[in-house]
């Protein structure tokens, strides 16, 4: 018997609007289609009538989880057009915020993945540890999301010695529970049974469809903007890029779990070698000079691309935002084929989707 099973657009896996149509033969999915665009807010259009500082606030609202990534990439674009050199300390503080954001985003996804496969006690443990990271972010920026740490030409808030000691101490405290979480994630039978061999994306398909970020690295594609095209002093830090070849949901769990350690490593190095320069270049409203720039940032979900075009005035002429989910969502139908309907939610969630981001 063949059926068409509609899923969504209301929260099929995470609290994100996507509609998937599954063409099934009994329990097995033969083909699938995805539909996006349920949360199109016209942010690109609005940005054409905002100046640089107003746009920082606006693009930060594109996404709740990777808000710092958007503001950072936009600031990088404007700095590239205007030829502004950011002070080192400002760049290091940007990196610290970006890595804390990656840490909390990956822990969030690990928790959600455990929740979807029905391992709720694990979900609660992981989110308990995530609160520690959220507290650090609140301490650092005064906010749990939308940190507003970035300004054109640097960062907005400094890290004093007291906060530095607290950050290092809390990260140390996080390592014990992280070891335990990773050990369970790698060895637990429940997780292995629900994730191994599910939603496989082969390396050649990942390359052909243009998958990026942890999603591509779980399929054996070694891409990372932080290493390939260093920005924001990322070249100063030592870190590894975990790559797993199997390409199933389990590989995505492993890659994200291991990346948490790398983030901790980067934050510790950045705090240790925090340079003693000013954090920004003052708060004067900049004009955006005539020209264009495309900048990329390794957001928690992958490569975030923004293009900014200026025409010499205060306002942007054009802002174009393309988030990692824009590249990863087209791989969903490919991964769904051949799996059972019961795994559809998990496979959709396995790209760590952010469809509100995608729709902008």
């Amino acid at each position: 018997m063949s059926y068409i099973v509609p899923i969504g657009p209301y929260h099929p896996a995470l609290e994100e609007p996507i509609h998937a149509k599954l063409y099934t033969e009994g329990e097995v999915i033969k083909d699938a289609e995805v539909f996006v665009g349920y949360n199109h807010r016209g942010i690109e259009k609005l940005a054409t009538e905002r100046n640089a500082i107003q746009t920082l606030v606006l693009v930060e609202r594109v996404c709740g989880i990777c808000s710092h990534s958007h503001a950072l990439t936009y600031a990088m674009c404007v700095e590239q057009i205007n030829g502004i050199e950011v002070p080192k300390r400002g760049e290091y503080i940007r990196v610290i915020t970006a890595e804390l954001e990656r840490l909390h985003s990956h822990l969030l996804w690990l928790g959600v993945a455990c929740h979807i496969i029905g391992h709720d006690s694990m979900f609660m443990h992981i989110w308990d540890e995530r609160e520690l990271v959220m507290d650090l972010l609140e301490e650092l920026s005064g906010n749990r999301v939308n940190y507003a740490m970035v300004t054109i030409g640097g960062s907005r808030r400094d890290i004093d010695d007291e906060l530095k000691a607290k950050l290092l101490q809390s990260l140390d405290k996080l390592k014990g529970p992280m070891d335990r979480i990773v050990e369970i994630a790698l060895n637990d039978k429940t997780i292995a049974l629900r994730t191994k061999g599910v939603g496989v994306l082969k390396k050649e398909d990942a390359v052909r469809l243009g998958a990026i970020g942890p999603h591509a690295r779980a399929s054996g594609v070694n891409v990372d903007v932080r290493r390939d095209s260093p920005y924001c002093s990322y070249g100063d830090f030592q870190f590894d890029i975990p790559v797993v070849d199997s390409g199933d949901v389990f590989a995505r769990v492993v890659v994200r779990a291991l990346e948490c350690y790398e983030s901790i490593k980067i934050i510790e190095q950045a705090l240790k070698y925090l340079p003693a320069t000013p954090i920004n270049l003052g708060n004067k409203l900049p004009k955006i000079q005539k020209g264009a720039a495309v900048c990329r940032h390794e957001a928690p979900r992958g490569q975030l691309t923004q293009m900014v075009v200026g025409n010499g005035g205060f306002n942007n002429y054009r802002v174009s935002i393309h988030v990692p989910s824009y590249k990863n969502t087209p791989t969903i139908p490919h991964m769904l084929r051949g799996n059972s309907v019961a795994d559809a939610g998990l496979i959709i969630a396995s790209i760590d989707p952010c469809f509100s981001c995608l729709d902008r």
Binding site: G42, G210, S229, Y231, A292, V294, Q303, M307, D359
Partner: protein, 131 residues
């Protein structure tokens, strides 16, 4: 700081460049588009030849060849987006389904109205509609 290199090309070079890049294993970052100040469509194919972004621009063309056969969804999604927001036609692209805009919008209002119309006009139109 990341680097960005602008290269202007003609319309018939788009497909050969895409084939060359695909063969070299270079990733297509994005296809960007905007109306420049002379009112001409400026479309750029951005390839990440690490660590530089090489941006190939075609200015003033509203009908362009699609590179969907070469880069699959990495190219067709941005092409569909440009088709909806700016009414740029890509030869060989399937545009029977909408990507971002509401289902009925293509029929009632036509393509390419959103990014082209000034915000103040769009606002005035909506206020009038609401009475």
């Amino acid at each position: 700081m990341q680097q960005y290199k602008r290269i202007d090309i003609a319309k018939d070079q788009v497909v050969p460049i895409a084939e060359k890049m695909r063969k070299a294993g270079v990733w297509l970052t994005m296809i960007h588009g905007f109306l420049n100040e002379e009112g001409l469509m400026d479309i750029s194919w951005d390839y990440q030849v690490e660590p530089v972004i090489e941006s190939y621009h075609v200015v003033g063309e509203m009908t362009l060849p699609s590179i969907g056969e070469i880069y699959d969804c990495a190219a067709t999604w941005p092409e569909r987006e440009l088709n909806e927001l700016y009414a740029v036609e890509f030869e060989g692209l399937d545009t029977s389904k909408r990507l971002f805009l509401p289902e009925d919008m293509l029929e009632t209002q036509g393509k390419g109205q959103i990014m082209v119309t000034p915000l103040s006009e769009l606002r005035a139109k909506n206020i009038k509609k609401e009475g």
